[in-house]
Structures are given as C-alpha cells and as structure tokens.
C-alpha cells in the first residue's frame, strides 16, 4: 500500500511534467502539422532561465524569487517559441513536411549547444531546493511542494482548456488546425494566431522545466532530449492534436513509467515508455482521444 501510494504520487508529478510539454507538441502539431522536435528543449531552456534568475537573487531566495523566476521562465520560453517559429518554421510552411521536420531537429541542436556554450556542459545544481515538509498519507510522504506542482499543473491545463474551448482566439486556433485558408477568409490573422500558439505551448514547456529543475534539484543542457521524446509519446498516446488527449497521455505515461519501474526495474523505464509508443502507433494510431479526421471533399 505504502509503495503503491508513493508511486502514485510519483506518477502524478512526472505525468504533470509530461502533460505540460505534450500540450505544446500537440497544439503545434494541430495547427501547422509539424512535429516540433525542438519542443523538449524549451523545457530545458525554462529550467535554465529559472536557474539564472534564482542565481541572480543569491542564496537567500524567498518565495518572491521563485515566483519571479517562474514567470521569467514562462515569458522567456514563450517569446523564444515565437522567435523560433518566425525565423525557422514560417518561411518553410509551404515546403515539404520533411524539410521543416529536419529544421526542427536543427533548432533543437542550436538550443542545446547554445545553452551548453553559455552555462557549460556539466550538471548544474539548482540554487533553491524545494522544502521537504509534508504529511503522511497511506504510509507514503506527500510534500507540500509536490501538492503545489500538481495544483499548478492542473491550474495551467484548466486555463488552457478553457481558453481553447471558450475564447474566440481558442476557437480560431481550432479552425486553423482544420483549414488555414478558410480561417483567413473569416478575417482571422492566421500567422498571428500561429505565433500565439507557439507562445502558449513554449511557455508551458518552460514552466514545466522550471518546476522540474526545482523538483529534481539539478539540470543539464541535455535534459530536454529524453523528456521531449517522452512528451511526444504522451501526445501520441492521447491522440496528437488533441488537448485533453495530451493531458491524459501525460498522466498515462507517468503511471506506466512509475509502476513499470517498480515491476521491471528502473533500467527498463525508457524501453517501457517507447514500447508503449510503438504499441499505440500500431494498434490505435489516432491515440486514446484522437479522432479519425475525415478528409474534406
């Protein structure tokens, strides 16, 4: 029981990180049909922005410093996402899919090496560690920091869900993912809404990176690589292009990974995650919540 509860908590945390990144993968795929392989690196950049801001505050960072660092990561990540789309992807939107996919891999290398050059190749210890106070629940320990991470993730995802389903701009995003030209005939500035999508997706990944940095205590310029692939897996499990799917996929992957680790050993963790990816692709390529998109006449 105790172990079950501890793994459950673990799964919720990892699942939240995956889900927050998977959302951006899914939104960008939905709107311009690009698998943005640089997306995981925004998680890494978010962690480093948080690191830089917190270091600036010095050792005695209070809650205020953490909040400032969080919003700095969010904002910087979002703006970087806009910049990447503008510079690297927009000129290629009408080129073959493969061209832009390769460009995404290039962007990923630029981000990783850029951060390595600026911060060095070794692991960095986060200036602020999360407090370990908490309480016992079914024999397991649940810290206040863990609760905060989960709540914050749920809050961000709920806000995004409401934005996409209720606001006019959210509806415009969904319209673009169906038909760019028809959307522009509604008087909707399609390129500006694509920018907005990149901003939102990238800032969520960066926020997740900042939280992960504090949670795990150390960061590196390569931390976005495997997490990015996992988030991609989560997006596919849920149904790529679907926002609720990305959230569900993140959670499912978190659960599978946590319990898979216990049953099979942690050295099998990644094998496990990517086998699931292959299984889903073979058995239900549209994912759990994805729809069979019927082609227009």
């Amino acid at each position: 029981m105790e172990m079950f509860t501890q793994q459950m908590i673990n799964a919720l945390i990892i699942g939240s990180f995956y889900a927050l990144i998977a959302l951006g993968y899914s939104m960008v795929y939905g709107i311009i049909k690009l698998l943005n392989f640089a997306h995981g690196d925004l998680y890494m950049v978010g962690a480093f922005v948080g690191f830089a801001v917190l270091s600036l505050f010095g050792g005695g960072t209070g809650l205020l410093g953490v909040v400032v660092a969080f919003f700095a990561a969010l904002l910087f990540g979002g703006l970087l996402g806009i910049g990447i789309e503008r510079v690297a992807y927009r000129p290629l939107l009408s080129s073959p899919r493969l061209t832009i996919l390769i460009t995404a891999v290039g962007v990923s290398l630029v981000l990783e090496n850029g951060v390595m050059k600026s911060f060095g190749p070794s692991f960095k210890v986060y200036p602020v560690q999360l407090p370990t106070e908490g309480f016992q629940i079914f024999g397991a320990t649940l810290t206040y920091a863990q609760i905060l991470i989960i709540l914050l993730s749920v809050l961000l995802m709920t806000a995004l869900h409401l934005f996409v389903t209720r606001s006019l701009y959210g509806k415009a995003m969904r319209a673009i993912s169906i038909d760019h030209a028809a959307t522009s005939l509604m008087g909707i500035p399609v390129t500006r809404i694509i920018s907005l999508t990149f901003f939102i997706g990238s800032s969520l990944a960066a926020a997740s990176g900042m939280m992960a940095g504090m949670y795990y205590g150390q960061i590196s310029f390569m931390m976005g690589f495997i997490v990015g692939l996992k988030a991609f897996t989560a997006a596919v499990i849920g149904g790529i292009g679907s926002i609720p799917g990305a959230m569900l996929g993140g959670l499912v992957l978190g659960l599978l990974e946590s319990f898979g680790t216990v049953w099979l050993g942690s050295e099998w963790k990644d094998v496990f995650a990517f086998s699931i990816l292959i299984l889903i692709l073979v058995l239900k390529p549209t994912g759990l919540l994805g729809e069979n998109v019927t082609e227009r006449m």
């Binding site: 006019l168 509806k171 969904r174 169906i178 030209a181 522009s184 005939l185 509604m186 008087g187 006449m297």
Partner: protein
C-alpha cells in the same frame, strides 16, 4: 451608380499556369454580378485573387476606391469583402454556433452587433438555429451552404462573393439558396456570384460576365446575356 469593386487587367499564376489573363470586371452598388464559365475557366481563381488567397501578378483591384491588390486576406475581410469559397469549407469539427462566431471575428470588439447579427442569421436560416449545438460536419450539403453564407454575414460584408453555392445540391435546395441570395442583396449587399448553373444565375443577376480560359470574353446586362445566342448554346442549352 457608384462602383464597389473594380478589377483592371488582373493576372494570376499557379506556378507556371497562367490562370487569369488580364481580367477586368466591376461590381456596382446594390447589384448582383454573375461570373459564368465552364470548369477550369478561372472563376474560383478570380475570387481567390480578390480575397487575397492568390496574389495578383499584375493589374489592380480596387474596393470602395481603395487599392487592395497586395493586402493579406484578413485585411481584405476587415475592409468588407467576404468570400464564401467553393465547397463551403465549414469547420466540420466545430459546432454551427462556433462557425458563426468565427465568422464574426472582425466584429469581436462590438458584441452588440454580433448578437444582433447572430439573431438575423438565425432568422434567415432557421435550420441553423435548430442545429446550433451540432457539429457543422454533420449538416447536409444545403445546410452547410447556409452556414457558410451565414458565417459570411457575421462580419457585416460590404461585398459578398459566392463561389458555386448551388454545387451538388438538389434543385429544391438550390431554389431556396438563390432566394436567400436575392434577399441578402435586397438588403443592400452587392454580390459577386460564381456559377456553373448559368440559367439560374442570370435570372438572379443584374450584370453578367463570361470567363473562358482566364479571359473575360463577354459581358452585358444579365437579361441580354440570357438571350445571347452564344451563351444559350454554350451554357444554357440542355
């Protein structure tokens, strides 16, 4: 009568394909202009060039006295030209109501207008009202055409361009659609109507143009065109 829209010597290309060769036409205040021609003549390209989906390579397009030749599509909608494309292109996964809301995007700062216009559209197309919460993809072809037209009205158009609204619809539905086009026009909105169904279009229109392989080959008052021997032979005989 004052001019709403004027095309002068407009050229357009798809890669090497020279789709429009010096097209000139005008739409006057309050009138319906019909653009006729067989498949592949360049009718849809003409509308796409006006709405900015295809960039004109030469010539000029003026709307209400303003040069719009190089504007982006969304700017052209803001000025008041709304293009209902061939095949309707409604957003199938969104509801009927969401489709209409998106049609009103340019009026988003004026909720009172949007509310009023939504009521007007629902009144004009009662079937959309019944199906407001339904996904647009579940509508019949005729209903989708109504949705596409209703969506266009949401942005308060000063010129409505319809590309083959009758395509693929049963004759009784076509009649209904054309009746509504007449009604919209009677409320003061000029219409540029593209049709293969020349007979019906000329009955509705004030002015007619015939397009052949990217060139305007005939233009006249619609009632005179429908008596023109060449037209009767090429498009009206069956």
């Amino acid at each position: 009568m004052s001019q709403i829209l004027e095309l002068r010597d407009v050229d357009a290309f798809y890669g090497q394909v020279h789709a429009l060769r010096g097209v000139s036409l005008r739409v006057e205040e309050g009138e319906i202009a019909a653009l006729l021609g067989s498949n592949g003549a360049g009718k849809s390209t003409t509308l796409k060039t006006i709405s900015g989906l295809v960039r004109a390579k030469g010539g000029s397009i003026r709307f209400l006295g303003e040069e719009i030749t190089r504007l982006d599509p969304h700017r052209i909608v803001e000025l008041g030209i709304v293009h209902v494309p061939e095949g309707r292109r409604v957003f199938g996964a969104l509801t009927v109501l969401e489709n209409l809301e998106l049609g009103g995007f340019t009026k988003r700062k004026d909720p009172a207008f949007t509310k009023r216009t939504l009521e007007r559209v629902m009144h004009l197309f009662p079937r959309l009202n019944e199906r407001a919460k339904q996904r647009a993809g579940t509508l019949s072809g005729g209903e989708q055409q109504m949705l596409a037209m209703g969506r266009a009205l949401m942005s308060d158009p000063k010129l409505l361009m319809l590309d083959e609204p009758s395509m693929g619809l049963a004759p009784i539905i076509v009649k209904e659609i054309f009746k509504i086009v007449r009604q919209i026009n009677a409320e003061g909105i000029p219409v540029l109507l593209v049709e293969q169904n020349a007979k019906a279009a000329l009955k509705l229109a004030h002015q007619g143009y015939v397009l052949e392989t990217g060139q305007i080959t005939l233009q006249n008052r619609a009632d005179l065109l429908s008596q023109d021997e060449k037209i009767v032979k090429a498009y009206l005989a069956n």
